[in-house]
Symmetry: C2
Subunit: 205 residues, 2 copies
Amino acid sequence: MSNVTSDQPRLTAKGERTRGRIVEEAARLIYERGVAATTLDEIKAAAEVSGSQLYHYFPDKDELVRAVINYQANAIVTNQQHANLGTVKGLRAWRNTVIAASKSTEAKGGCPLGSLGGQLAESDPEARALIAAGFDLWSSTLSDGLQTLRAHGQLSSDINPDDLAVTILAALQGGLLLAQVQRSTRPFEIAVDTILALVAPKINV
Amino acid sequence: MSNVTSDQPRLTAKGERTRGRIVEEAARLIYERGVAATTLDEIKAAAEVSGSQLYHYFPDKDELVRAVINYQANAIVTNQQHANLGTVKGLRAWRNTVIAASKSTEAKGGCPLGSLGGQLAESDPEARALIAAGFDLWSSTLSDGLQTLRAHGQLSSDINPDDLAVTILAALQGGLLLAQVQRSTRPFEIAVDTILALVAPKINV
């Protein structure tokens, strides 16, 4: 996907690794603590870089947060593309993967991308636009899978795959938010399984 | 619903009004700007109270934020209870109301309760628990309506009203988050209408 830092000067292989480590550690800390509660000093310490190294790659926290948004969106969309939603078996495996992922964090942190939306949408327009672009790509990847399902006769032709993709993405996001505040993955499992059951007579999941 | 400040000393009618005005103005500013970006000074100015008045009712910002959570949850649940979801006509009117509400704010701010969850879940355990209680009550109010629908033969007996209520709430939350970051109510409308269309053959919405 498009990267806000794509116009940065070319980095050496070592520079890429250092930059990557900073973004990974920032993503981890921000996911655990939220954007406001994560300081550049903590990220510096976690990534084992000096202040001047950090500022070389990211002149301010906003820039780093935007790199984290791209990092999280890329990770999700790449996983989604590998999920092979165009088959019933793939859809069932995807359901198990997203529920296992939410259980592995005990529903803390919510969605790595969606939780950034909740925090930044009203305060950082550039971040908001990047998150929106990430959701668009996620939704269209979901829709690709659903269109393949329909082409294989597994999805009724009266369900619009684009609309269903937005609805599934909404249920994922909302289910993760409910799970996050209730500290239980149950609402997330219920939302995912109820949507699939509603669609089930047509796709035989 | 339960109120975190229910053990506060009894207030005079005037005191109740002042306290209510502070909470209302805090809710409005926090909805517009987010919790972190809203200062007590701004709330004081908006509610036209002195510093000592503000601190008399709310010793710190956390206390005030908790009162805002209760205020938003009460407002939503009261509206939900008046929506009369137990009839097909009521369900259709409710659909129109929630979509009109999201349009009126141009999808800014997201859900007044859910957006607080995204901001506070990882940093304030008491706030998180209050938001979870608000979602529980919202979900059970939704479920009451769906149970009435089922009792009237408008909802298939193979759909569990509690699970459907959680799923609809998840779709509302996620749809509002998508709408918030995309600055368009479309994803919200799509999520609500697609869920209702999936259930439609059974409840004739």
